[in-house]
């Protein structure tokens, strides 16, 4: 049937998945940057080049995410809510509640095992409660964002972080560090504050187990653990949680293609 591409242009990172007849062939991730059209092209080219996929092998492209409309070569644009649901249900079919911690928003989705969305809720308009705060703090502490999860788990005395605001958290972090608080304790406090905000969103929509966390934020083990602690139950995380929307987009594309061929 050829290849189907799923491309998720997020506000911080852009992700792509190439889906072949036997499943995922390859994935690609790069910073979104300022020129989203160019980024989309770059994701496509990388997937094509690495896997020897020619233009006419690509049967369908489905775009999603904040910059989905910049993927001008896409056959269809789908909401990231629908794509996450599809992607997660294909990887973790028992999941009924999905928490997507992205750079701009946190979303909570109630889904079924077929990837149908039954309800969803997005965090408010500001970046508080989203994954943006993790990047801000990583910059302040001069550590890599990938490292902060492990670091926070080493905390001995978690500090109470007073703010959920992405802007104020920066100044609060600076003043705490100057008071002599360790990076580990500070990060543990930040994770706790962020998890509490995410939890209030989760409570607003209601939870049905199993629960999964996806999006860039789910790569942060410290955040996952903090939310597990607050909620008192395990949270499933797929192997590459930042790719579920791109995967879902590709699966939607494949399903459409199949339907077209069958009809």
């Amino acid at each position: 049937m050829g290849y189907v591409l799923g491309i998720d242009i997020g506000s911080a990172y852009s992700k792509g998945i190439a889906l072949g007849d036997q499943g995922t062939v390859d994935s690609s991730v790069c910073p979104s940057g300022g020129d989203l059209k160019l980024t989309a092209e770059r994701v496509k080219e990388e997937l094509s080049f690495r896997n020897g996929i020619s233009a006419h092998d690509i049967m369908r492209t489905v775009a999603t995410g904040y910059g989905a409309r910049s993927v001008i070569f896409a056959d269809e644009v789908r909401s990231d809510v629908a794509c996450h649901a599809k992607g997660v249900s294909s990887l973790l079919p028992t999941v009924k509640t999905v928490i997507d911690v992205g750079d701009l928003y946190t979303k909570v989705l109630r889904i079924d095992r077929n990837g149908g969305v039954h309800n969803f809720l997005l965090s408010g308009k500001c970046a508080g409660g989203s994954g943006r705060i993790l990047q801000v703090i990583a910059r302040v502490l001069r550590v890599k964002v990938e490292e902060i999860g492990e670091m926070s788990l080493k905390s001995k005395k978690r500090v109470d972080f007073n703010t959920g605001c992405a802007v104020f958290s920066e100044s609060e972090a600076i003043s705490r560090i100057s008071e002599g608080v360790t990076k580990e304790d500070l990060l543990a406090g930040l994770h706790r504050a962020l998890a509490a905000q995410i939890n209030s969103l989760v409570e607003r929509i209601g939870v049905e187990p199993d629960v999964a966390m996806v999006g860039g934020g789910a790569r942060d083990l410290g955040l996952v653990k903090a939310l597990e602690e607050i909620r008192g139950h395990a949270i499933l995380v797929p192997a590459e949680p930042h790719l579920t929307a791109a995967l879902g987009a590709a699966i939607i594309g494949r399903e459409q293609l199949k339907k077209k061929i069958e009809s």
């Binding site: 809510v81 629908a82 077929n114 149908g116 039954h118 309800n119 969803f120 809720l121 997005l122 308009k125």
Partner: protein
């Protein structure tokens, strides 16, 4: 003073009915008429608030109401509120207060400072009042504080406050056990208003005229109810987008022949559309309820966006400030003031008895449930406008209760063994977040992404719905 910049003009919203399209000029006309009345000085002008059941009294005394919420809404709809909001902020008022109030206070301060209307004031501007009638109402404190703030710039303009309470819902208590007490109190408040107006205008209240105006309003209430119930038709002939226009005669023109005639025409228009099978949208796929929240006045085009996806809004809880009088269990009286007080109590307690019959229900939730059934609703949309607590507190809670107590939708999913399996899902809901007039709180891209995702959710349920 902050920089005063005007915002980009919005595209005109497409209306589904002729009646809704006629509202713009009508509002413009009554704004202009207040300015003319100010210039002529023959009639007294009063700043005041909607939903106070006092229009009949004002009109019987020939007092012209200036609906300050309406003017702020106009500034918002014309995307020209920001300069007035900034002015209020620079006076030390926080942006988290009611933005209608901020806009009005900013405008008043500017007009009083200049001694004339601010430059390019929307539709000529808001006329200076002779007095202000505020109204303490449950949790809307701007209704009593707003005019006090404006009075700083107009110290010669008196304020009269009317207090209009109603018994809160209590499952284990019949509101009728206490409402005589409330009634007595409200009658006193309204009689106090009459006395204040008599003093201000130098005229005596003509109670026969008041009775006629109250009768006219009652007839209009019933007519509106009948007209809006026509929207139960499939396809729906008129949606919430239009209802955000037709709220004008309900909320700003009550007790006038014009409002009554407007609904005579609208009813006829809807009946004709129903006879022709003509809906708000060409191919109606989803029927949604606007389940709460004042609209983002600068973004009414979002209703057109919903329409473009096949979604129609046959019903809304917002601004439907009337209920059928024949279904209200209120005592008969020929005293118009006493009747106004009973009507007030009848309106606010309208859903109490029904809510008591359903375990876990409350009046607001009961209204949602009844209308979901009567209007065959597929999903609920709410708007949380950050600056107005009064209308928005409890919206999320209402959705929670709805999910808890209302019957779920049966749908099919593919089970583990590859066989179809029946599961149940709650009615989908969407919460939009921004403000009534503060455009800086709104993102069109985000809002439309949310709408897209919601439509996909509705479609997924529709596609898998079990009989």
């Amino acid at each position: 003073m902050a920089e005063e910049v005007k915002e980009v003009k919005p595209k005109k919203r497409m209306t589904a009915t002729r009646a809704a399209a006629s509202i713009g000029p009508m509002v413009k006309e009554f704004i202009t008429s207040t300015l003319q009345a100010r210039a002529e000085g023959r009639q007294k002008l009063a700043y005041t608030f909607i939903v106070c059941h006092h229009e009949e009294i004002l009109r019987a005394m020939d007092v012209i109401p200036i609906w300050t919420e309406n003017f702020a809404g106009i500034c918002g709809a014309k995307r020209d509120a920001e300069r007035f909001l900034q002015r209020a902020e620079s006076l030390g008022l926080s942006r988290s207060l009611c933005t209608y109030a901020l806009c009005g206070i900013g405008f008043d301060q500017w007009r009083e400072e200049l001694g004339q209307m601010p430059p390019d004031a929307p539709w000529g501007g808001q006329a200076r009042p002779d007095f202000m009638i505020s109204s303490g109402q449950i949790i809307c404190d701007p209704r009593s504080k707003w005019y006090q703030a404006s009075q700083q710039f107009m110290p010669d303009v008196p304020i009269y406050n009317i207090d209009l309470p109603y018994p809160l819902f209590q499952r284990d208590q019949d509101h009728r056990d206490v409402w005589d007490y409330y009634h007595k109190y409200i009658v006193k408040q309204l009689r106090g208003l009459v006395a204040f107006l008599e003093e201000q205008t130098g005229k005596k209240m003509d109670y026969d005229r008041l009775r006629e105006l109250v009768d006219l309003s009652d007839r209009t209430w019933n007519l509106i109810d009948e007209t809006y119930k026509l929207r139960r038709a499939v396809p729906c002939p008129m949606g919430t987008g239009d209802a955000m226009n037709t709220m004008v005669p309900i909320n700003f023109m009550m007790a006038t022949e014009k409002a009554y005639d407007f609904f005579v025409d609208l009813k006829k228009e809807l009946e004709e559309k129903i006879a022709r099978g003509e809906g708000e949208v060409e191919n109606e796929r989803y029927r949604l309820m606007w389940g709460g929240g004042l609209p983002a006045w600068y973004a009414l085009n979002d209703f057109n966006y919903f329409n473009s996806k096949g979604a129609s809004f046959p019903v809304e809880t917002t601004y439907r400030m009337v209920a059928p009088l024949n279904e209200m269990d209120i005592p008969e009286t020929r005293d118009p003031i006493e009747h106004l007080a009973w009507r007030w109590l009848g309106y606010w307690t309208f859903w109490y008895d029904k809510a008591k019959k359903r375990p876990g229900s409350e009046p607001d939730v009961e209204r949602l449930i009844n209308w979901i059934e009567e209007y065959k609703i597929d999903g609920v949309v709410m708007h949380e406008a950050f600056s107005c607590r009064s209308w928005h507190v409890g919206l999320i809670w209402q959705l929670h209760q709805l999910a808890k107590i209302y019957k779920p939708i049966p749908i099919y999913v593919m089970g583990k063994d590859g066989k179809r399996e029946k599961v149940y899902r709650e009615l989908p809901s969407l919460i939009l977040e921004s403000d009534i007039i503060d455009i800086t709180s709104y993102s069109e891209v985000d809002t439309r992404n949310k709408i897209d995702a919601f439509i996909e959710t509705l479609e997924s349920i529709r596609a898998n719905r079990a009989a």
